[in-house]
Amino acid sequence: SAVISQKPSRDICQRGTSLTIQCQVDSQVTMMFWYRQQPGQSLTLIATANQGSEATYESGFVIDKFPISRPNLTFSTLTVSNLSPEDSSIYLCSVEGLRQGSAFFGQGTRLTVV
């Protein structure tokens, strides 16, 4: 299984600012995924991050609000821009395991916007 380190684990941010979340994997992976979990809700996929190409965003998520970088095969960042209280959520990165479809998750970033 992959070991995924996600930072920060939690943060409290002022509205209007931005937060960048880092995800580091201990092995090279083709695709990394970013999910959002709003309070009391399930996980929703934000985007898929491929190395060397632009991220692919799911319906309802746009690059201006959630810019993603993927500079190499072990690292990705998600920025949540122009924060509002509605952005208060847990953000998680994920990679696929050795078996197709088996996903592993970082420990998540708990964001509170005040």
Binding site: S1, M31, F33, Q37, Q41, S42, L43, T44, L45, T48, I90, L92, S94, V95, E96, G97, R99, Q100, G101, S102, A103, F104, F105, Q107, G108, R110
Partner: protein, 111 residues
């Protein structure tokens, strides 16, 4: 898109009791996983089970792909089993690695 429905939404048990959680999905899937989210938000893989039956200690899971459901069994529950249990599926030819989650079952185990 695919619909993933979990039941029950909430479950309260006394320590030592057994339970069954269900996941129904509306279309054929490539893969199915069960996760446990602990109170700190960490998602822990329980099973990768697109079909068949698997067991890991007090937990076991069965997926009947032809009937589009999966079951997670927890025996002799412990307080550390508390948390949210999610079923997630991967479907479609272009959805490699992308998961659609159910709404989860919130399990509370009392001592």
């Amino acid at each position: 898109g695919i619909q993933v429905e979990q039941s029950p939404p909430d479950l309260i048990l006394q320590e030592g009791a057994n339970s069954t959680l269900r996941c129904n999905f509306s279309d054929s899937v490539n893969n199915l996983q069960w996760f446990h989210q602990n109170p700190w938000g960490q998602l822990i893989n329980l099973f990768y089970i697109p079909s068949g039956t698997k067991q890991n200690g007090r937990l076991s899971a069965t997926t009947v792909a032809t009937e589009r459901y999966s079951l997670l069994y927890i025996s002799s529950s412990q307080t550390t089993d508390s948390g949210v249990y999610f079923c997630a599926v991967e479907y479609g030819g272009t959805s490699y690695g992308k998961l659609t989650f159910g709404q989860g079952t919130i399990l509370t185990v009392h001592p």
